[in-house]
């Protein structure tokens, strides 16, 4: 799938992606010449078809995680299937409120989510992960349901 700006005869490039959490996806593309933007909106079925391949439209925002597809897509996983991981990533701390919110994430996928947020904080020099940081990371990284 490619998007062509007809006026400029230029291929439009990926700009940003949004995952509102209802299974749909919005991917914004823009013309590098005239700056015209367009949004590609996919329904839950189209979104799943792409994510089921283990790929992300516009490229990955975080490195792929071990058993990512299994852990993010299986609904009947054992809460205790994976060993818990420490709350610290390097020197990053989790606030009490953030840790509490993390407990709301199903155990099957919690370790993976924790790691992604931890790495997000480390890369940006954030010392403490708070619920606000989690929201920002979710938005920046396009983490549906995390």
């Amino acid at each position: 799938m490619k998007f062509l700006c007809i006026d400029c005869d230029e291929v439009m490039t990926f700009a940003e992606r949004e995952l509102p959490g209802d299974g749909t996806l919005a991917a914004v593309f823009e013309c590098p010449d005239c700056g015209r933007e367009m949004a590609m909106l996919t329904n839950p079925m189209e979104t799943k078809l792409v994510s089921g391949l283990g790929i992300q439209v516009g490229g990955r925002t975080v490195p792929d995680q071990p058993l990512e597809l299994v852990r993010s897509s299986v609904t009947t996983g054992d809460e205790k299937a994976f060993a818990d991981q420490p709350l610290t990533t390097g020197t990053v701390r989790w606030s009490e409120a953030a840790a509490e919110r993390l407990q709301g994430v199903p155990g099957f996928v919690r370790g993976m989510v924790k790691k992604i947020y931890g790495e997000y904080a480390v890369e940006r020099g954030i010392e403490e992960i708070t619920p606000e940081i989690m929201d920002r990371a979710r938005q920046d990284l396009g983490l549906e349901g995390m």
């Binding site: 799938m1 009947t76 054992d78």
Partner: protein
């Protein structure tokens, strides 16, 4: 009516970094899988066109036997919707450890390193995917294949002499597995003497040859039953479909495993028969098969 003069470049005429990135992601997946398998000397797929012929029991016993013989052995249960290998190998049930290198495999009988959906699913729960409310079947094979790819590529197998892959029944699933794997050293096709198995496994032979698999061994399971009282052997089936299949396809029967009730009992208990009763007829036949797997180009010992 005005003549249409606008000419839009075609898909292949347009270079697009975004779409190339998607191709790049697929290539990265394949590359990751190849890297992981590079540390494994021999990849053995245990399959059949037919269900219920004993693929998993034979896989579990072969894995344990090879490990007992000093080989470094891994086993993957690619039957996502009917996983049984972890139970048959008596795998430890401690939570799986995720490191920066991937997921550490569980350990089963004789030290076999293994991975199965059975280890990650809730007890007794079927594998269910998060999917849209309608037409879930559209995504199922994509998700299933992706999961098998992850079981192969995301598990820290380390250096292995052999990795055994217990394939799910059905030629469709075998086809996906063959497509996923960069190379297959040996394909074991398990059959029984039944006519139904002969037909189904015959299709799998064709499929495997079409996929370019050069080393294919037929294994006839549940061939005869030995009476525990008088010791007389009787065929389990009226037909001799396994021998017929070997003749029709020109493939060699690498093993003919007799039926033994204790085989099933030991397997259900997570204690492979080859370890529990190594002198039993089935275990001895599996021992010969294991030796053949260690050196698949040799004649039957």
């Amino acid at each position: 009516m005005t003549e249409r003069t606008r000419k839009i470049r075609t898909y292949h005429q347009v270079a697009d970094p975004s779409s190339e990135d998607i191709v790049g992601q697929i290539e990265a997946q394949r590359s990751k899988l190849a890297d992981r398998l590079a540390d494994i000397d021999r990849l053995v797929v245990v399959a059949s066109g037919k269900g219920g012929v004993g693929k998993s029991a034979i896989t579990a016993n072969l894995a344990a036997l090879l490990a007992e013989r000093g080989r470094r052995v891994g086993a993957i249960d690619a039957d996502l919707h009917g996983p049984s290998l972890a139970a048959m190998l008596g795998a430890d049930r401690t939570p799986l450890v995720v490191s920066e290198h991937g997921v550490e495999p569980a350990v089963g009988a004789a030290g076999v390193r293994l991975m199965s959906m059975d280890l990650v699913l809730s007890d007794g729960a079927p594998l269910e995917w998060r999917q849209p409310d309608v037409a879930g079947f559209v995504y199922q094979s994509t998700l299933d294949t992706g999961a098998v790819r992850e079981l192969l590529a995301d598990v820290v197998w380390g250096r292995l002499d052999l990795l055994l892959i217990d394939a799910p029944p059905g030629t469709d699933k075998l086809a996906r597995l063959l497509e996923l794997l960069p190379v297959i050293d040996t394909l074991l096709l398990i059959t029984t003497p039944s006519e139904a198995a002969r037909r189904a496994v015959g299709r799998a032979v064709q499929q495997a040859r079409g996929a370019g698999i050069s080393t294919i061994g037929l294994v006839a399971n549940m061939t005869v039953h030995e009476c525990p009282d008088c010791g007389r052997s009787e065929p389990m089936f009226e037909a001799d479909g396994a021998t017929q299949l070997a003749t029709e396809t020109g493939l060699e029967l690498w093993a003919e495993v007799p039926f033994e009730p204790r085989f099933a009992v030991a397997t259900d208990a997570g204690r492979p028969l080859v370890l529990e009763a190594p002198e039993s007829p089935a275990a001895l036949e599996l021992d010969r098969l294991a030796a053949r797997l260690e050196n698949p180009t040799s004649e039957t010992p």
